[in-house]
């Protein structure tokens, strides 16, 4: 496809002119980079002569290019009419019947390709599941001699997702029928159902966990009914015990891929599959109806909370508990930086919790489910706290929070958590009744105005402004509108007995009310600010006035009614529920923005085995008199010297590859030895003039290598192709390292953004205008750095640190272009400012399609801000995962598939394809669920009380409803504004605190600070999830440990009888008493301080005794950790 094709492809789509310009400039730029890179590659000085990533525009393109089969055009046509799911089936059928295949293809080949392409279409050609998740598709024989189809699943199937992975078997069954094969007959050789049951349980216990828990009977039911065989390759070194050496199952180890298809796919998603089966009109799958499916571990709230608490990870704080007063109160809505699995929290929380959270920190939440990332929104409700002197204060804003921070004793109410309706929709969740929030009140007022006083100026002003208390009371009385939420307390969370106590103050008037200390808890529950003086609670100002008007003007009559109803009756002012539910929040992974490095970090992919010492230093290795390396046999026949580049770096002529039969040792020109009838490898262990090559390279690049100049121990690719040394020299010079595929990359947590202010991203108005940004969201010309602008589809705002790293990458690419490839430089970028406007690709770890993005600015956070559509094109939502960012030119010049292992999973996380455009209607459905509404209508709030499913709500506009219209590109509105994106610190404490102990310390401090979190419960959980497993694990590992050589690093499973390493040096233990006892003192102190129960206490003491019985009584009181208090 050429450049013009790119434009013609988008010219049919309805979009504003500026978007057409935008996409045109993106494809122009992409192609110009392509051409520049291609001309550099054509110099043949590199180890590969072509640009390897291929450009693919859409699903059809990707599938065709990934499988190297010419189906793009027909597939595009089929997709237009049938949609993704049916197209997969149609095309699979055509392939199975021999269309698009070579004439000599066997039936097995055809079916193999059919299943793979089918899955590729289902997974949109983005994941590598079709290539590497399916290990093989084979025709096998049943015991009765009939033929059936067997699909063998490998680990990377995981990248396809649960439903899709199971659909693989539906497609396989479909083509099986077309090919006229029989059904698979389970258990005809041995107990295959039993094998799956045993294997799955072993996998769950030893290897990894699944998304769902399933029943044994379901496993038996599925395996005995499957019409095709679910086979698999082994993935983990755990063996079954009772079902070994089976006729059809070649391995005794667990087959993670197949088990995942069974557990998370066939059984966990059986309901979704049934819908597909109906759509596909497949018969023979009715038995899926009988499955019990995923077993929820506890349906009621309490169980879910208990489960979440059990998952507590040491050092990762629990911030809020589900459905408890004082936790984060659910608030519906979206800000420009939330939605798409990012949730809003007030920035003052981060400040008063010592930055336990930062932008991009992953959190686990119970409603609407799964993970989310933190974003800061300052227009939502703030926390209420108790100070050391007993007074209760509602924090006004960040500044106020910082002022009182050191006086805070307890956080009584955490304030709001802003969750978008789209996230409820995406998770197919039920709505929870909304609290009576400001925007709810405004909608009620709006309705009244429209009905009775459409032109009332006084009333209309309150649609945009909070009324004073007097005004609020008057409006409520006059118009029968509930009391404004600003003056509301959690009346719904106290009992009528509590109210009775509140009706008996020590002193009362309109400006001051005094209570005895006994009602403190009630006032705290209400969230009513007060002072404490001499054991007396004093309400003043606004609080006194609210209490006076609600409680003391007319004496309430206590009845069976709820407190808000009692007060509404007596005062004539409607009191609504301020509380809705609280969301359980615990911290998951910390946010991340860092260069991606290999372990250990590597400058160049060149193998030096052990000769460079533990740092893999090429300079050290080059001092070896006879340096040998296991690399490809590329030889310059003129100089008779090995070569890395296709052209000889000395004389410049083209080199050739020599094959050597490992049996007869003959030198061949073909990769096959006719004499021995076996494959001949292209690589060998050979002498390599490393020293002279390094000198040559340094001379050529004008860069001197510094120690350590890091290579790799060995190459992981089949032909042992190495990188030219020059690349490493330049990387080292600019402080860069390489990833296993030859690219220089950074990882950053994904975060959505739909609007920005120039002041947030540090880019000048002029520069923004150059980039095509001319107007703000209201259509006003761009003049000030505080105007709000809607971000373009593929524009990204990257962390500052990553920007700096990319500037160096630009310099590196330029030096390579000039001095290595002999071409002109391309970027000429000297600083961050000049990098703005350049193209990068975003790449998610389990995929192989890089999505083009354009840098428009930088942020002092650790996240990469991009549109939900852009993130979703990478097949990601923002639930806390980090994706790679690679400079576009770098991925074209330096990436080579040849460097990657041909083993299963080797192709994951590599830019095999590059997609230049992101079009909303082509992105993942989850991006289409983003709400783009400006207001939440009254109808919506009312539907929350019905607790309907989010999918049954039609009152909120989402992207899906705009697809195929111009407005799918712009006017993405939000409901809640924010003044800033971040807080005073860009990194969370978890990533800045050093030791696990410091992190744990913070976790306990947070638990003691936050009222809704119970420290004893938390400590008990930390003991059982971290401390005990650590102590026990290390103690057991101690008596099974391996040993390591102090000099060469060789490791020994057991102490050898010669008692030294083969190299003659001393061996040391890998686990010592110190490492076993690391947490013992802490654990003992915790079980004394907190009430964690007899069982927990007993475990710690038993472990302590056991340590003494392994090592003997400890010599004195060894202080192994700084004292914890």
């Amino acid at each position: 496809m050429s450049e013009n094709d790119a434009i013609s492809r988008i010219s049919d789509i309805k979009m504003p002119d500026y978007y057409l310009d935008y996409y045109t400039s993106l494809s122009d730029e992409t192609y110009s980079i392509f051409e520049h890179a291609a001309s550099a590659k054509s110099s043949l000085v590199d180890s590969s002569g072509i640009i390897e990533p291929k450009i693919a525009f859409d699903l059809a393109d990707r599938v065709a290019k990934m499988h190297e089969i010419d189906i793009a055009d027909p597939l595009r046509e089929i997709l237009k009419i049938n949609g993704k799911e049916l197209s997969a089936l149609i095309l699979a059928k055509e392939i199975a019947l021999g269309k698009y295949c070579l004439p000599d293809a066997t039936l097995e080949d055809k079916l193999d390709l059919a299943v793979r392409v089918g899955l590729a279409i289902i997974t949109e050609g983005v994941t590598i599941a079709p290539l590497q998740g399916i290990s093989e598709v084979k025709i096998k024989k049943n015991k009765d001699g009939t033929e059936y189809l067997s699909v063998s699943i490998a680990g990377p199937m995981r990248s396809a997702g649960g439903t899709e992975s199971a659909v693989t078997l539906l497609i396989a069954d479909h083509v099986r029928k077309i090919a006229g094969l029989s059904k698979f007959q389970a258990n005809s050789f041995d107990d295959e159902t039993g094998r799956f049951v045993e294997e799955l349980r072993i996998y769950e216990r030893e290897a990894s966990s699944f998304q769902f828990h399933i029943l044994d009977e379901d496993i038996e039911h599925v395996i005995s009914n499957l019409p095709v065989e679910l086979a698999g390759v082994d993935t983990d070194p755990y063996e079954v015990v009772n079902h070994k050496g089976m006729a059809r199952i070649k391995t005794d180890r667990v087959r993670g891929g197949a088990l995942r298809v069974l557990n998370d796919g066939l059984i966990g998603r059986s309901k979704k599959l049934l819908k597909r089966i109906e759509l596909y009109n497949l018969d023979g799958w009715e038995w899926l109806n009988d499955l019990k499916g995923a077993v929820q571990t506890g349906d009621n709230q309490e169980d879910a909370a208990a489960k979440r608490m059990r998952e507590v990870i040491t050092g990762r704080s629990v911030l809020s508990m589900p459905n408890k007063l004082g936790g984060f109160r659910l608030r519906y809505g979206r800000s420009c930086n939330t939605g798409f699995a990012a949730v809003g929290i007030h920035p003052v929380i981060a400040e008063i919790l010592d930055h336990t959270i930062a932008v991009g920190t992953q959190i686990k939440i119970d409603i609407p489910g799964k993970g989310a990332t933190v974003a800061f929104v300052d227009s939502i409700d703030t926390p209420t706290v108790r100070l050391n002197n007993g007074s209760v204060v509602k924090i006004r804003d960040v500044k106020h929070g910082l002022e009182i921070k050191n006086d805070i004793e307890k956080i009584l109410h955490l304030g709001d958590i802003l969750i978008s309706f789209g996230d409820f929709l995406e998770n197919n969740a039920q709505l929870v009744p909304s609290a009576f929030v400001e925007e709810f009140w405004i909608e009620e007022l709006k309705q009244k105005i429209e009905k009775y006083e459409p032109n009332d100026q006084v009333l209309n002003q309150f649609l945009n402004k909070i009324p004073t208390l007097d005004e609020a009371l008057k409006i409520s009385l006059d118009f029968k509108i509930p009391l404004h939420p600003h003056y509301l307390y959690f009346w719904d969370k106290i009992s009528s007995e509590d109210l009775l106590k509140l009706l008996e103050p020590k002193k009362v008037n309109e400006t001051s009310i005094e209570y005895s200390i006994q009602v403190k808890k009630i006032l705290e529950n209400l969230g009513t600010p007060h002072k404490v003086e001499n054991e007396t609670l004093i309400l003043e100002h606004q609080e006194a006035k609210i209490f006076f008007n609600l409680l003391f003007r007319e004496k309430p009559t206590i009845s069976d009614l709820s407190v808000p109803k009692i007060l509404s009756q007596s005062s004539g002012i409607q009191i609504r529920n301020k509380f809705s539910t609280s969301i359980g929040v615990r911290i998951g992974r910390p946010e991340k923005a860092a260069p991606r490095q290999m372990k250990p970090p590597t400058h160049v992919l060149f193998p030096i085995s052990d000769k460079g010492g533990p740092t893999r230093d090429l300079l050290k290795a080059s001092r070896n008199e006879h340096f040998f390396a296991n690399i490809i046999n590329r030889l310059c026949t003129k100089c008779n010297q090995p070569s890395i580049g296709i052209r000889c770096s000395i004389c410049g002529i083209k080199t050739s590859i020599i094959y050597r039969c490992s049996n007869c040792r003959d030198t061949l020109n073909e990769p096959f030895c006719e004499k021995c009838k076996r494959k001949a490898p292209a690589h060998s262990h050979q002498a390599f003039p490393l020293k002279s090559r390094l000198l040559l390279a340094q001379e050529k690049m004008g860069i001197r290598a510094k120690e350590p100049f890091k290579g790799v121990k060995e190459l992981i690719n089949q032909d042992k192709i190495a990188e030219p040394l020059e690349k490493g020299l330049v990387r080292q010079n600019f402080g860069l390292t390489t990833f296993k595929d030859g690219t220089v990359r950074c990882d950053a947590t994904n975060s959505p953004l739909t609007q920005f202010k120039p002041s947030w991203i540090g880019t000048s108005i002029e520069k923004l205008k150059e980039l095509g940004y001319s107007h703000d969201v209201d259509g006003k010309p761009l003049e000030s750095i505080d105007q709000i602008i809607e971000i373009r589809m593929q524009d990204v705002i990257i962390p500052n640190e990553i920007g700096k790293y990319l500037v160096n990458t630009c310099k590196y690419v330029d030096v390579l272009l000039e001095k290595f490839y002999g071409k002109s430089s391309f970027y000429n970028v000297k600083n961050l400012e000049e990098l703005v406007g350049h193209l990068i690709i975003g790449l998610a770890p389990h995929t192989s399609v890089g999505i083009v993005g354009r840098i428009i600015g930088y942020t002092e956070t650790h996240v990469c801000f991009g549109t939900p559509n852009w993130h979703s094109a990478k097949r990601r939502d923002a639930d806390g995962d980090a994706d790679s960012i690679i400079l576009l030119m770098d991925s074209l010049l330096n990436f080579s598939r040849q460097f990657l292992s041909d083993r299963i999973g080797g192709l994951m996380d590599a830019p095999l394809l590059i997609q230049p455009h992101v079009l909303p209607h082509e992105s993942q459905p989850q991006a289409h669920n983003l709400e783009v509404t400006k207001i939440l209508p009254l109808e919506f709030f009312e539907s929350t009380f019905e607790q309907v499913k989010a999918s049954d709500v039609s009152s909120i506009e989402i992207i899906k409803s705009r697809l195929d219209t111009e407005r799918q590109f712009y006017d993405y509105h939000f409901t809640h504004s924010t003044l800033s994106l971040t807080t005073s610190k860009s990194r969370s404490a978890y990533s800045t605190l050093g030791s696990m102990l410091d992190k744990f310390d913070m976790q306990v401090r947070n638990a003691e600070l936050i009222n809704v979190v119970n420290p004893a419960e938390l400590v008990s959980n930390v003991i059982s999830t971290h401390l005990v497993p650590d102590l026990m694990g290390n103690l057991r590992a101690y008596a099974r440990q391996s040993f390591r050589c102090t000099a060469c690093g060789k490791s020994y499973r057991r102490m050898p009888l010669i008692q030294t390493c083969v190299c003659g040096h001393k061996l040391i233990a890998t686990i010592t008493r110190g490492s076993v006892e690391k947490y013992l003192k802490l654990a003992k102190r915790l079980v004394e301080k907190y009430d964690v129960g007899e069982y927990q206490k007993g475990r710690i003491h038993a472990l302590s005794d056991e340590i003494e019985l392994v090592f003997g009584k400890s010599r004195g009181d060894q202080s192994l950790l700084s004292d914890y208090s």
Partner: protein
Amino acid sequence: MKKELSFALNYALNKGFQIHPDAFKILENVDVKKLEKIIKEIVREKTRQKLFQINQDDLETYLGIKEDLSLKNEVKILSDPTSKITSGEGVKGYNALFSSRFNKLKRIISDRPESKLLKSAASLKNAKIDDDQYVCGLVSIRNSERNITKIVLEDPSGSFEGIIFDEELQKTAGTLLIDQFVMARIGSAKNSGYIIKDIILPDIPEQAKNKSESDAYAVFLSDLHIGSKYFMEEEFSDFVSWISSPDPVAKKIRFVLIGGDIVDGVGIYPNQNKELVCQTIQEQLKKAEDLIDKIPKNVKIIIMPGNHDPGRRALPQPAIPKKYNSGLWERENVIMVGNPAVVSLNGVIVSMFHGQSIDDIVKTTPGLSYDRPTNVMKHLLRARHLSPIYGSQTPIAPEMEDLMVIQDIPDIFHVGHVHRAQLDMYKGILLINSGSWQKQTPFQASVGMTPNPGIAIIVNLKTFQVFHENYSSNLDNILQT
């Protein structure tokens, strides 16, 4: 009064007999099913003697329950690791441990004539040898590829690598356990390197059995898992009361051996607290003590720890520490030993081992399974080591001496751990896996393990005749022999 008892009484009275109150007391405790037969036979016998009073002596003689003072209950502890542990640490400890293993087993194998021809591994370095030679050492690598098995042996001088072509010998080699001691007959290969021509294991020599002079019986138990929800408390209590019943077999019991996992422990596996009825070790052991209390005082009880009991998990294990239950330690008829232990019961030598190593051996050895634990026990005897594999599941502590080497040849080899009661013989040694007293747990069910719990194995130490009492109501639950 029970129906059967009044029937018996009436029967005797009708025949004109008097029953002495002491005799009546004995009758009350007799199994009701046997009552009718007993009373009829005694009446017939006494009628013949024309003596019409049934007294205590008559019944005791008939039932064989007369306290037989000639039955000895002599226990000698021949080997117990309790006082010998925590002797080494880290590198030093493991060096000593494996040297000790090598030296002890080399001494055992030196009884064989071939051992005169032993060469050290270092002396063989690539040298061509004309005649067959012998090397010995610990197996450090066992590798089968295509049609060749490769084995690496290690001795204090270095390591030796040999290959095996012979199919039969490959089968033998395939069952070698990593880190076990073997001797190999070797010759030079065609090109270079060495061929292994024979593999010689330390093994057990045939020898005469020790026997108890008196007719005392020993009960072999293990894996009670007291404190677990799944402990068969009722069945076990029934069994304990049977020991003190007038049953002729029960009356001769003088020893009860408990081979580990007497309690379920605390924190042994994740979320164990949900499957416990007693949440602390102290509670669990107290319950054990209460149950044991019901065993007659003339029966000696030997208790060994397993992987669920408190103390330490690494082998060898010391006896369950006194601090958790001094009651058991102070009881006169209870002897607390470590794991493994060797005891002599009236001269009969019993080697007791809980059996943790079975897990690793079953996993890595073809042809072995949890269903037939005695086959694994044979492997251990042939290797003359209770837990050869290092570095896998079973932790092995760095002690200065390898206490897991089987030095003394036992008459009875008693192992538990896998919850499959089974009997077998190997070279004159009675092999007992004593099963369990815990019902199938959810964990066992999930991996398809079916235990046969509730079976007590009883051995006559004079004749080596084996009895068993089955307390399971499940008809499929039977003792394997």
